[in-house]
Structures are given as C-alpha cells and as structure tokens.
C-alpha cells in the first residue's frame, strides 16, 4: 500500500467518529497499543524533547524500506505517533521523504502539530524525514 492509500484508510477509519470523545478514546487506545520501542533504543540520542511530552524515535532500513519504532510518555502523543508509523513505516526512503501528510488535517488533529503544543510531534516528523533522506543514499 502506498503512503497515500494508507492515509485514505486512516481518514476512513476516523470518519466513523462524530464526537471528539470517541475520537480521543480511539487515539488513546492506539497509544496504549503501540508496540513498544526496544528499551535499548530509548536512549538520549533517540530522544526528541518537546516542552510538554517526550518522544523517542528509532529507524532502521531493511530490504530498501524504512521501519520506525517510537514511544512517548504522553498517551495522546503516542496515539498520534502510532498513526504516523502506520502511514510512514515500511515505505521506501524516497516515498517518505516526499510524503505530504494530509491525513492529519483531514481527521482534525492538526492542532497537535502546532508548534505551541511543543509535544515533540513536529520534530518527530522532521526527524522521520531526515532519516528517510539519509537512507536515500544507501538504497
């Protein structure tokens, strides 16, 4: 599935919720289910410091595709991370580097990517793209 197809899938999934409570309950459960990052990867080099919540991100290149694992101490941040990983992980570096993440806006979570939230998400996405750009030279 392409990154855009995955985004469409997430949008479809979120279209079922008509109030914010259901939507946030879903994000929280995604956050709780997110497969944990390897403890060894929860090191300072992988830490993205937001003012409000902390995010750890690790990347790995396997058979030409990038795989991300991540974690956060805040569960809503973690739920959104889980969506990011679903959309961006297991894609080629080129596809990730060029991805336009329109789904965030579509499912009404844009506010979470505003810099005033300082939750580490904006930096995380930047970091995901940086990894992809760096891996482009390796494939």
């Amino acid at each position: 599935m392409s990154i855009n197809e995955r985004q469409e899938e997430v949008i479809e999934e979120f279209s079922m919720f008509d109030d914010w409570m259901d939507k946030y309950e879903h994000i929280i459960s995604l956050g709780k289910e997110l497969p944990l990052i390897n403890d060894a990867e929860k090191k300072d080099e992988n830490l993205i410091k937001g003012c409000q919540s902390r995010v750890w991100l690790a990347a790995d290149l396997k058979e030409g595709k990038v795989h991300f694992t991540a974690d956060s101490d805040a569960v809503i941040t973690k739920g959104i991370i889980s969506l990011m990983i679903r959309v961006l992980s297991d894609a080629t570096p080129a596809e990730i580097a060029e991805a336009d993440l329109f789904f965030v806006d579509e499912i009404g979570l844009k506010e979470h990517l505003s810099p005033t939230r300082s939750n580490g998400l904006v930096s995380m996405i930047k970091q995901m793209k940086m990894y992809a750009i760096a891996y482009q030279t390796k494939v």
């Binding site: 914010w20 946030y24 309950e25 003012c51 409000q52 919540s53 805040a74 809503i76 941040t77 979470h112």
Partner: protein
C-alpha cells in the same frame, strides 16, 4: 471613584467587564484557569488601546505638535498612576520595560556590570522562574561570580535557616520571587528584605505572580527593585514595570543605548538622559503604557480585601475537591499560598489531561512552567496547574473537577 468599601463582592458583575469570559471554546463556555500565564483584560483596557491608535497615535518625548504632546502626557500620566499604585516615592523610580523578564535582565546587566566581581555571590531560590535564573547565570558567568540557591522543603517553602546562612560579605544581591508561579508559595519577602538589608545586600523582587493577587507597596516592603508584567495584572502585553530606588538607579549604567536615553551625543562622548529615560532607549510600547493606566484604574476600584477572601475561597474549595481524586498529588503545599494549584495524577500525563480538558472548554497550564530546576527538585517533568483570578467562580471549579475526572477516566 467611590471611597466607600464595597463588601459585597459581585463576581458575576465583574465578569461582565471581561468580554473574553463569555466566549466559547470547542463548543463549551470557556473556563479560564491559566491566569498565571496571562490575565484577561477588562473592556476599559481594550478601549484604551483602541482609543490611543484611533485618536492619539504619535511618538512621545519628541514632537512639538499636539498629538505628540497628548500622547506624551498620557504616557507620563500612566507612569504616575503606576507609581501611586505601587507606593513608589518618585515617578522616575518607575521604569517602563517589556515585562518582568526585561526588568530582571536590566538589573542583571546594569547592576552586574557595575557591581559584580570575581568571587561575589548572587542569591536566588530553587523555585525561581527561568526569567529569574538565566539572566543571573549569564552575568555571573561573565563576571566570575557565583549563583547561590536557597533550597526549599517538600511543601514548597523556602528553608529560611539556609537562607540566613547564605548571606555573607560576598553576597551582592538577593533576587527572589514574591509568589511562585508553579507552587503558589507566597514567600516571606518582607522578612527576607530586612535580613538582607542587615547585611547591606540589596534585593530584587520578581513580582510577576504577586500583582494579580494583591496590591503591593514597594515602600512598605523596602525592596530595592521590584519587577512585574502588566499583562499578568489585567493590562496589555508587552509592558512591564521595573521599580528601582532612585539611589540605585542613579548609580547603575544604562542597559541599552539609543534614542530617548541620551542628553547629547557626539562620536566622542554621549551623556545620558536623566531618570527614568536613561533606561528607556527607543520608542516604547506607547499604546501599552497608556492602556496600563486603564488597568490600574480598574484595579483601584477593586475591593482588595474582598478579592483576597474570594480567591482564598476558590483556593480552598478547589483544593478540597482535588483531594478527593484518587492518585492526585499536590506539588506545593506551602503554609501561605496564592490561588495557584499544581498537581500530578498517577497513571496520567499532564499533557494528556490538558488536551482533554481543553476539549471541554477548560484552559489549564501543563508542563514545567518555566521552572525546570523546581521540577527536578520534586522529581517530576511537569504538572497540571490551575491559577485563579478574582473573576473565577466556584461553579467553574465544579465544571473543571468534572472535566478532570472525565479525562482521568479516559486516560487510565
């Protein structure tokens, strides 16, 4: 202005003066409990900004024309109003700044450049806002001076014995917050000022969090400097006040150079203007300065005894309600507290609580509140903070408690 004290504190009537309090957020009536970050503005302050730009706008201290004279007298009248409000002896002891941060930096740079030497000491406390830490770190590093930190106990009170021992012949300045923005602790500043003065140590008070809750009197306190921000006392953003005793301000070199702060300039030598202009380089926030007078007029009309009683009631009521929540831990249980409550809830992250409460129209602050060393002292990364102003109500606290319980239930 009525001289009669009005003992019936009509909060609903006061709320009508603040237009923003009737707006909705996320489809719910706004409950604004982030007053510690900035306070809301009464209509009279908003009108004053509007009136300035509509009728008076011009540069001050520089024009012979009518507009400039009107604006200059309004700006200087604002200075005199603030002088009276804080009990300063002279209007030239009242400097306009950009805010508390700017005022502290002014003292750190001017005082530090002139008086600090290698081996000298500046005393602050463990509960300071970054604005009262970093400027001192910068100047101490530059001068080879040492920053000493008064520790606090688990309740969030300063350990006064340690403070007393810290004062010595190397101490050059004490800079301490009046009220902690994170813990709500009201520090015994008068006692500390007297102790410092016994050792000839001048004192700067960071009053950012005190001015919204009480009327201050700089002469009664006998502090040497007192810094605060108008935006936290229901006035405009971008304006602050640094009060300084004339005897100190006269000795300090200017902080920034530019227009307005000079008497004569040649390429060989510049002579500085007198106080307060010596410290006010460049075109200031004129609209903000003038609108600050409207904020002071508003505060002069308040019955401060009633405000204090009302805020105490809000503090006690909210604290009692919060106590019933399982796993909730207060950060800051000082003996004397302003209406500021910080807490953490087991099994939840402050950020998540803040995001969900916002969805229910409740504005709280989450995070480290620019007091990272204090967070470290308590072994946490952040808290949820609610900070009340006189226009908040018990009914709002009820809604907040419901929202908090709901958020906890969703998150656990």
């Amino acid at each position: 202005m009525s001289t009669l004290v009005n003992h019936t504190f009509d909060v609903e009537k006061l709320r009508k003066d603040f237009p923003i309090l009737s707006r909705e957020v996320n489809g719910k009536p706004l409950i604004y409990f982030d007053n510690g970050a900035t306070a809301q503005k009464p209509q009279s302050v908003i009108d004053a900004v509007n009136r300035y730009y509509s009728y008076e706008n011009s540069n001050i201290h520089r024009g012979v024309h009518t507009l400039s004279q009107e604006a200059t007298s309004a700006y200087e009248e604002a200075r005199r109003k603030i002088q009276k409000y804080i009990g300063a002896q002279l209007s030239e002891e009242v400097l306009f700044t950009k805010g508390t941060t700017d005022g502290i930096n002014l003292v750190a740079q001017s005082f530090g450049k002139h008086f600090l030497k290698v081996g000298d000491e500046v005393v602050i406390s463990a509960m300071e806002h970054h604005s009262n830490i970093v400027p001192w770190q910068m100047i101490c590093e530059e001068k080879g001076a040492k920053l000493r930190i008064i520790p606090i106990d688990d309740q969030g009170d300063l350990i006064m014995d340690e403070f007393k021992q810290m004062l010595n012949s190397k101490t050059k300045l004490l800079s301490i917050t009046h009220i902690s923005n994170t813990l709500g602790t009201v520090n015994p500043v008068k006692e500390m000022i007297d102790l410092a003065h016994e050792k000839n140590v001048p004192v700067l008070i960071d009053g950012a969090q005190a001015v919204p809750h009480q009327k201050i009197d700089v002469r009664a306190l006998d502090c040497d400097f007192y810094a605060f921000s108008m935006h936290k006392m229901f006035g405009p953003t971008g304006v602050g006040i640094l009060y300084g005793k004339k005897e100190w301000l006269d000795q300090l070199p200017p902080y920034q150079g530019g227009g307005d702060m000079i008497k004569t300039v040649t390429f060989e030598k510049t002579t500085y203007n007198e106080l307060p202009h010596k410290f006010e380089a460049g075109t200031p926030n004129i609209a903000g300065g003038i609108a600050s007078a409207a904020a002071v007029d508003y505060l002069n009309e308040l019955d401060w005894e009633a405000v204090r009683a009302h805020e105490k009631e809000l503090l006690d009521y909210a604290s009692d309600q919060l106590k019933t929540i399982e796993g909730l831990r207060f950060i800051g249980e000082a003996k004397v507290k302003a209406s500021v409550i910080s807490f953490v809830v087991e099994g939840t992250h402050a950020y998540d609580l803040g995001v969900i409460m916002d969805k229910m129209g409740v504005a709280v602050r989450t995070g480290h509140h620019c007091t990272q060393p204090l967070m470290e002292r308590f072994g946490i990364l952040g808290t949820v903070r609610v900070s009340f102003a006189f226009y908040n109500t018990k009914a709002e606290i009820d809604t907040f408690i419901k929202a908090l319980n709901r958020a906890i239930k969703m998150l656990r």
